[in-house]
Symmetry: C2
Subunit: 139 residues, 2 copies
């Protein structure tokens, strides 16, 4: 059952706020890494390269969690749990360039590794928690 | 098997950098939330209140993941996977006040809820990844 990202928190995708993405390792334990994030109105979109740990995790175990804190107020944040419903290479190169523009202000993603295959992951939010922003709230 | 936090990244615990903690829901899916973090030389310490989702998750399923990005350079970060090896109420009130000092600059945690029982969670890092800090690296 999908749950929408509240309108009042969609601004977090318009600013260069990192997401923190949890995926599941083969033993079921969680791994968290910072990621660039995007939102298409329904799906949270992240981008990685084929063969990385989080890529392998999401292909095998689609359940993920992610949080995004407001750079202007770290006590205002969005946290979602959901599932990766699609992994695609189509448009993934253009998408990492779009993210590089948002996060770095450059037209081309500068850290490409020769031979790497970029992938875009579509995360359907199923449970969304939005909070903020009293300092210390939630601790 | 414990793995130490590299000396060169321990400064992340000296500044008010949020951690992003992944715990496991009853269905095994990951939940991520921002948390205040501390380090005692061996364990990563977090603090929450009894009965919260992450408290219930860590009591039932001790595997966690956490990342901490450098507020001065978000592409420099520490990510650890490990296990909660102890949950204690002893010293947890003083510990949340210590964290309030570090994160908010105040002597007393200002968001206490009457009746809540504070707990301190000791996380033993088992796999540590430290990276940084070229912009875009890891995406």
């Amino acid at each position: 059952m999908a749950e929408n990202i509240p309108e009042g928190y969609r601004d977090l995708f318009a600013v260069p706020a990192l997401g923190h993405l949890a995926t599941l390792m083969p033993d079921g334990s969680p791994q968290v890494t910072p990621v660039w994030v995007d939102f298409d109105g329904t799906f949270i979109l992240v981008n990685s390269a084929k063969g990385r740990q989080k890529d392998r995790n999401m292909r095998a175990r689609p359940q993920v969690g992610i949080d995004i804190t407001d750079p202007a107020n770290p006590y205002r944040y969005l946290a979602a749990r959901g599932r990766v419903t699609e992994i695609t290479e189509d448009g993934a190169d253009a998408h990492i360039d779009k993210l590089a523009k948002k996060y770095l202000g450059v037209d081309k993603y500068p850290s490409r590794v020769p031979g790497e295959v970029r992938c875009m992951y579509k995360i359907l939010p199923e449970h969304v928690h939005a909070q903020g922003g009293n300092a210390g709230e939630g601790s």
